[in-house]
């Protein structure tokens, strides 16, 4: 049994906590959050303990693994604390808000001899895993163009931190890093980036971005991200090759659509789509990291991959700011 503690009781902290409770190899020993009410609520619903500080948690529970689910710009602080207390760490994506922090986090975990995992969860979505395999098996022939879309409504979170460029890096650093990581997994490193977004065009809580990526292997990708929809969330991916075209839209892959009359269980009459899986991708991801710790094996996504994905995000952000094409560095 691995003793796990979660730092940050927001959206991600809640999802991860629930996963640890459901998993057979883990026990959730504690939750830390600066907001006592939110932290206590989550701890109570998952039948675990709330701690006001990281230090109290370590002293009382001596966990084996720390899962960092605080806003991005705070990742480094907690990863360093965990490493110095000789605890393995899972850190939410993006690994950090800047490359300096990301590099320092990788370094200290290495020095302290603890493992650092980055939660690039898209690699654990069964649909995306299948796409990865089809590409790897060259089922579509030579790939020419790839298009992805991810987004929906502007996210609501503690202190509206997603609206703060310094903290979140906009949807380019925060959200479409998922697609950058996935595409790097499929197609290797990126040569150059050109991007447009609303950064600097002052719309309140509306953001949208188009990113052009040219991979070293020649693939041309269009990565779109949106925080401009009035509601909802969706993903799309299309890969076109010399032998065929693959199209996958989350809104189409819906095995259940129910439209139920208002009753005691359902408050509204709107259609509700559902796509249930035996085990959700977040839990699959955490189970994988936990098994890497227990068995001493390598993860399918490394902290270095997290660093590389962040590099692409920051190159895109730079392109937005300068209006220029940004070439990725050969080696860091």
């Amino acid at each position: 049994m691995l003793k796990v503690a979660v730092i940050g009781a927001g959206t991600m902290g809640s999802a991860h906590s629930e996963a640890y409770v459901n998993m057979s190899d883990t026990v959730l020993v504690g939750i830390v959050d600066i907001r006592e009410d939110v932290g206590r609520n989550l701890a109570e619903s998952q039948r675990t303990n709330y701690y006001k500080s990281f230090e109290d948690l370590i002293a009382s529970e001596s966990p084996d693994l720390i899962d960092v689910c605080v806003p991005t710009s705070l990742h480094r602080e907690y990863v360093e604390k965990a490493a110095k207390s000789k605890k393995h760490v899972i850190c939410e994506k993006p690994l950090a808000r800047n490359l300096e922090d990301a590099r320092a986090m990788i370094k200290i975990c290495k020095e302290e001899g603890v493992k650092l995992f980055v939660a690039q969860v898209v690699r654990f979505f069964p649909d995306y895993q299948k796409i990865y395999r089809l590409v790897a098996e060259q089922k579509l022939g030579k790939i020419g163009t790839v298009r992805t879309m991810r987004g929906g409504v502007f996210p609501t979170a503690w202190d509206d931190w997603y609206a703060n460029v310094e903290k979140s890096g906009t949807l380019i650093v925060d959200m479409i890093i998922h697609d950058f990581d996935f595409l790097r997994w499929c197609f290797g490193d990126v040569e150059r980036v050109f991007a447009k977004s609303h950064l600097g065009r002052d719309f309140n809580r509306i953001d949208h971005t188009f990113v052009s990526l040219r991979f070293k292997n020649g693939v041309i990708a269009h990565v779109e991200g949106s925080w401009a929809y009035p509601s909802g969330f969706k993903t799309e991916i299309e890969i076109a090759g010399s032998n065929g075209v693959l199209i996958h839209n989350s809104e189409d892959a819906v095995p259940i659509r129910s439209t139920l009359r208002e009753n005691s269980l359902h408050i509204s009459g709107v259609a509700v789509p559902e796509s249930p899986l035996k085990t959700g991708p977040y839990q699959v991801e955490l189970e994988h990291f936990v098994s890497c710790i227990i068995n001493g094996t390598d993860p399918i996504v490394t902290a270095e991959d997290g660093f590389k994905a962040l590099e692409i995000s920051l190159a895109a952000l730079e392109s937005v700011k300068t209006g220029k094409v940004v070439a990725l560095k050969e080696v860091d």
Binding site: G144, I206, F210, G218, E224, S226, P230, S242
Partner: protein
């Protein structure tokens, strides 16, 4: 009203011929095509006169012509038609260079004939509805647009640069850029593009990605690739996602179709049942002649859309964004 068609090199000539036959008070007077077999077959099919040399058709008493030649011949035919005093509906792209398009526009002006660029997608009812939503302010202020006009490799003269002037990027950029310009009344001021040949073993570009910035501050992207494989259930698409301050609209212009699975043809097909937009285009052209008004889609519109594709090639070569001057 009598209309001639100059060349059947472009397959749209067939649906324009059908459209002419459907409009009352209009006669398809003749077809000119240097490719005798193709021209005679078409003349037979539409029960009209055949001319080998288009100059001979221009000598006849016709009011207007529709030009469906290879792109690189649009200029020569347009100028000859203008000098013969015939109004012109010219297939897109208007020309293969900005200079050619300019001289076509100037010649038509000089000889007092109308020049309309064939952008039939403007007559697709879903497209028109979206235009109306934008004009009504239903989307609020537009902040970004994503377009696609994917297709299959058309082969033939389309992939010979001397005749087509360019591959997928020229062929499939102009429709959607025209719609963006029309929707916003704004010109493209910057183009960045990636262009390549990947899907086919051909000499001309078959894929690309354009990143655009408009004078009004809206940014856009566009995918003109011939990326639809042979088994794809339809030829391609025209789609747009328009992001506004009040919400987002998705347009899939030809998504008025159903699926047909057919063992005899070994094919899965999307059968389109929406309105013919080619008919809409030709009707509009005829109306503009009858009413003696400015064409609803001018030669200038054709030039500006084509210019974006030309700059895209330049950008891809230079690996940097290219500015476009608009007066």
């Amino acid at each position: 009203m009598k209309v001639g068609i100059l060349s059947f090199a472009h397959m749209h000539a067939y649906s324009y011929a059908e459209a002419l036959n459907e409009i009352s008070g209009v006669e398809l007077f003749g077809i000119a095509d240097e490719n005798e077999e193709r021209g005679k077959n078409a003349a037979n099919q539409y029960k009209t006169n055949y001319f080998h040399d288009y100059h001979d058709l221009l000598k006849e008493d016709i009011d207007a012509v529709i030009i469906c030649s290879e792109n690189s011949r649009h200029k020569e035919m347009t100028i000859a038609a203008a000098k013969a005093g015939k109004h012109i509906l010219c297939e897109k792209p208007l020309a293969t260079s900005v200079e050619d398009a300019q001289s076509m526009i100037e010649t038509c002006k000089k000889y007092g004939v109308k020049l309309q660029t064939a952008f039939p997608v403007r007559f697709n009812p879903p497209v028109q509805r979206v235009k109306q939503m934008i004009d009504n302010g239903e989307l609020g202020r537009i902040v970004a647009i994503r377009g696609t006009n994917r297709g299959q490799n058309p082969g033939g003269w389309f992939i010979e640069e001397e005749l087509s002037g360019g591959g997928a990027v020229l062929d499939h950029t102009v429709h959607v850029v025209d719609l963006m310009r029309w929707f916003m009344n704004s010109e493209v001021k910057e183009v960045y593009a990636e262009v390549d040949t990947v899907f086919n073993d051909i000499q001309i570009d078959d894929c690309g990605l354009l990143m655009l910035e408009f004078e009004n501050g809206v940014f856009a992207s566009h995918d003109p690739s011939w990326s639809r494989c042979k088994t794809f259930p339809t030829w391609g698409d025209v789609t747009m996602e328009i992001v506004g301050t009040n919400g987002v609209v998705h347009l899939d212009a030809f998504n008025q179709h159903f699926m047909v699975y057919n063992d005899a043809d070994h094919k899965v097909n999307q059968e389109f049942w929406g309105n013919s937009y080619d008919l809409g285009l030709v009707e509009d052209f005829i109306h503009c002649l009858k009413e003696d008004r400015e064409p609803s889609i001018t030669g200038f519109d054709g030039l500006k859309a084509m210019e974006v594709a030309i700059k895209a090639y330049e950008s891809a070569k230079m690996k940097k964004p290219i500015r476009i001057r608009n007066e």
